[in-house]
C-alpha cells in the first residue's frame, strides 16, 4: 500500500483502457468507469450504479440509477457541471431496491459517501450497501450556467452541437458535430468555477474504491488508482475477465509525475484559500468545514 500526502493511499496505479470498443467510443478517456460498472453489473457485484445521465438541457446531467449496460452507456462522458449523484444514494436502496450500489463521483462526492457510511445521519441502511464507489479526478467543477457562458459566449458554439468537452493540456476543449474544435485557455475558465471547489483538498478521489482520470496517461488511456480492499478485489476480477488493457504507469508519458504535480498544486492552492478565508473580513473570517 502506497501512502502519499497528495495522492492518498493506493494499492496499485496503472495506465488502462477498456478492451470494449463500444464502451470506448463514447467514453471520456479509457472508459474505465463505464467498463467497471458494466462488468460489476454483469457479475452481480452491483445491482445498479448512480451515474450522471442525460438531463433536460444539452450537457446538463441528471443523476440516474443505471441498472442496465444500455443505461450505463447513455451516461458515458464527462459533463463539466454539477451532477448531485449522492442525492440518489438512499433512493437507490429504496425505490430502486438495490442491495449493492455502485456510484461514480468527484472526490468531494466520495467524501460525502464515506462520511455517510461512518456517520449515517439520514442514510438508514445505506452504509453496508455501497458495493463500488468509483472516483474521478477533479480539479474543479462548474455551475451549468458557467458552461453555457463558456461554450456559447466564449467559444461561440451552440451547446446542442457539442459532442465532447474536455480539460487537458492547459486548455478547455469544445468539440462539435461538424468537426470544429474550439479551445479556451484555462485563465478564461477559472472565474467561472464553482466557488466551493476552492477549498477542496482532494484531486484524485483518495476515498474511492477505485479512482481514475485522464491526467498522466496518453489520449484514450486513463490513470487508475486501485485503493480499497473492495476496489482491489473488483479490479483484479475485471483484469482476469479481460476487461482492460493495461500498462505499468512508469512506462507511459507523462506518468505519475504530472498527476503528483497537479495534485500538489491544487491542494496547496486550496489550503491557502482556506487560510485566507480565516481573515476574510475585518477581524472576522469565513467558515472552515474541516475539523
Amino acid at each position: 500500500m502506497v501512502s502519499d500526502n497528495f495522492l492518498g493511499n493506493y494499492a496499485s496505479c496503472v495506465a488502462a483502457r477498456s478492451t470494449n470498443r463500444a464502451i470506448l467510443a463514447g467514453s471520456q478517456d479509457g472508459g474505465i468507469v463505464t467498463q467497471l460498472f458494466a462488468f460489476a453489473l454483469e457479475e452481480g457485484i452491483i445491482d445498479g450504479a448512480i451515474v450522471a445521465g442525460p438531463g433536460d438541457e444539452p450537457w446538463r446531467p441528471r443523476p440516474m440509477v443505471a441498472t442496465t449496460v444500455a443505461e450505463l452507456l447513455a451516461a458515458r462522458g464527462t459533463k463539466y457541471n454539477i451532477s448531485p449523484n449522492v442525492s440518489f444514494i438512499k433512493e437507490a436502496t429504496r425505490s430502486y431496491g438495490l442491495d449493492k450500489v455502485g456510484i461514480v463521483g468527484t472526490p468531494c462526492q466520495m467524501q460525502a459517501v464515506r462520511k455517510g457510511q461512518l456517520y449515517p445521519v439520514g442514510l438508514r441502511d445505506v452504509p453496508d450497501k455501497i458495493a463500488l464507489a468509483i472516483g474521478i479526478f477533479c480539479m474543479e467543477n462548474f455551475p451549468y450556467q458557467s458552461i453555457v457562458q463558456l461554450v456559447e459566449d466564449h467559444a461561440n458554439t451552440k451547446l446542442d452541437n457539442v459532442t465532447k468537452m474536455d480539460i487537458g493540456k492547459g486548455k478547455f476543449w469544445v468539440y462539435t458535430e461538424r468537426g470544429a474544435t474550439v479551445q479556451l485557455p484555462l485563465k478564461v475558465t477559472h472565474k467561472y468555477e464553482q466557488p466551493g471547489c476552492h477549498v477542496c483538498l482532494d484531486y484524485v478521489a483518495n476515498l474511492a474504491d477505485i479512482s481514475t482520470g485522464s491526467v498522466g496517461t496518453p489520449d484514450g488511456w486513463s490513470t487508475v488508482f486501485v485503493r480499497s480492499k473492495k476496489g482491489t478485489d473488483i479490479w483484479s476480477k475485471a483484469l482476469a475477465a479481460g476487461c482492460f488493457e493495461t500498462k505499468p504507469i512508469e512506462e507511459v508519458k507523462p506518468g505519475l509525475e504530472l498527476v503528483t504535480k497537479l495534485a500538489t498544486e491544487k491542494i496547496t492552492k486550496n489550503r491557502k484559500t482556506i487560510e485566507e478565508r480565516a481573515s476574510f473580513g475585518v477581524g472576522k473570517g469565513l467558515r472552515n468545514p474541516y475539523i
Binding site: R60, K90, Q111, L118, G122, L123, R124, P127, Y290
Partner: protein, 336 residues
C-alpha cells in the same frame, strides 16, 4: 492505518473476553493506561421480563417474545464472562414517538451482540422493568422535553445528574424536530404545548441526530462509547476521534433546519452540489436545481439530518480517511 490494525487485532482474537479487550489488554510495548474508574457492579440482568418483552411492530423483535425469561441461575452463568466490564446504558423516553427506540431494535442481531458483549441495558420504560432512572454510563435520551410537564423536567435533570454521558438520540432530542410544531390540544394532556430539545435544559455530550436515527449510527456510537469508557489507550483515541464531531454538534446548539445549510454552507461559499443533503432528508424537502440544493422550507421538520450529513458542514479527514479501518473495527466488534 497502524492504529486501526492494532485495534482490529484485538477484536479479531477469538472469544473476546474482558482479558483481551478491555482495560486489561495493553499493548505489550506500552504501559498500561490508568484504570477506568470503578463503578458499581451491573444490576441483575433480569431486566427483561417476558410479559414486557419488546414486540416491535411488524418484525421479529430483537428479543423473541416467546423466549423464556432467563432464570436467575441461567442469568448468572451467562453473566460470568465479560459482563463486569460492560458499560451501563439506558433509554430515557421524553416526548418522542418511540421511533428512535425502534431504530435501536432495528439493529436486530447486532442489538443482541451489543447487549451480550458491551452494554448492560439498565433502564428503558419499554424494555426493562425499572421504574426510576438509575445511575448509568450512557443515557440515550429520545424526544424533547415538555416543559409543561413536571415529571419530564425532573427526569431530564435526573438523567443528567446520574449519567456520565448523555446522548441526544434522534432529532427531537437534538433539535426539537417535529415537536417544535406542537401547539398543544392533544389528548389527554391538551395543555402540554411547549417542547424543548434536551440541550436547552441540560448539557448534552453527544448528538445522534436523525428522524429516526439510523440503526447503523446508533451501533457506531454505542461501540465508540464502549471503547471510550472501557478501551485501552488506542481504542480510546479512536473512539474520541470518531465521537468528536458528534460532540461538537452537541456544542453547536439546539436549532437545525434547512436554513443551517444556507447559513453555514451555501452562503459561506462551501457547497459543492454533492447531493448528500437531499439524500438525507426524511421528508424530501430538498431538491437540486442546477446542482444546488433548494429547500422547500414549509416541508422541513427541523431534523438537522441534511446539515449533519453534508460533507461541508463538518468533515474530519482524520476520521473519514480511515473509513475502511473504522468500519472493519466496528464490524469486528459486532461479530458474535
Amino acid at each position: 492505518m497502524g492504529l486501526f490494525e492494532k485495534i482490529l487485532g484485538i477484536f479479531k482474537k477469538k472469544d473476546v473476553t474482558v482479558e483481551t479487550r478491555g482495560t486489561t489488554a495493553p499493548k505489550p510495548d506500552e504501559p498500561e493506561k490508568p484504570a477506568v474508574p470503578e463503578r458499581p457492579a451491573p444490576p441483575p440482568t433480569n431486566a427483561i421480563p417476558a410479559e414486557r418483552a419488546p414486540v416491535v411492530e411488524g418484525q421479529t423483535s430483537a428479543i423473541p417474545p416467546d423466549e423464556k425469561v432467563p432464570t436467575t441461575a441461567q442469568t448468572d452463568t451467562k453473566e460470568v464472562k465479560p459482563v463486569s466490564d460492560k458499560i451501563t446504558a439506558g433509554h430515557v423516553h421524553m416526548s418522542g414517538c418511540t421511533g428512535c427506540e425502534v431504530a435501536i431494535a432495528d439493529n436486530y442481531a447486532g442489538l443482541l451482540t451489543l447487549l451480550d458483549k458491551y452494554v448492560d441495558w439498565v433502564y428503558d420504560l419499554t424494555l426493562a422493568d425499572v421504574r426510576h432512572i438509575p445511575e448509568m454510563d450512557v443515557a440515550l435520551v429520545e424526544g424533547s422535553v415538555c416543559i409543561n410537564d413536571k415529571i419530564s423536567v425532573e427526569e431530564i435533570r435526573e438523567t443528567r445528574e446520574k449519567s456520565k454521558i448523555v446522548v441526544a438520540l434522534g432529532s427531537c432530542a437534538c433539535y426539537g424536530n417535529i415537536t417544535r410544531f406542537c401547539r398543544g390540544g392533544q389528548q389527554n394532556q391538551p395543555q402540554h404545548e411547549a417542547y424543548l430539545p434536551i440541550g436547552d435544559l441540560i448539557k448534552v455530550d453527544v448528538y445522534l441526530p436523525g428522524c429516526g436515527p439510523s440503526p447503523q449510527l446508533i451501533k457506531n456510537v454505542c461501540v465508540a462509547a464502549y471503547l471510550l469508557l472501557k478501551g485501552n489507550a488506542d481504542q480510546q483515541a479512536l473512539a474520541t476521534a470518531y465521537l468528536k464531531p458528534l460532540m461538537q454538534a452537541a456544542e453547536r446548539g439546539t436549532e437545525a433546519c434547512f436554513c443551517d445549510l444556507m447559513i453555514d454552507v451555501i452562503d459561506q461559499g462551501l457547497c459543492i452540489g454533492c447531493g448528500a443533503c437531499a439524500a438525507a432528508c426524511p421528508v424530501r424537502a430538498i431538491t437540486h436545481e442546477y446542482g444546488k440544493p433548494q429547500g422547500q422550507r414549509d416541508l422541513c421538520i427541523k431534523c438537522g439530518a441534511c446539515y449533519n450529513q453534508c460533507p461541508r458542514s463538518w468533515f474530519s479527514f482524520d476520521v473519514v480517511s480511515q473509513y475502511e479501518g473504522i468500519m472493519e473495527t466496528i464490524d469486528a466488534a459486532m461479530q458474535e
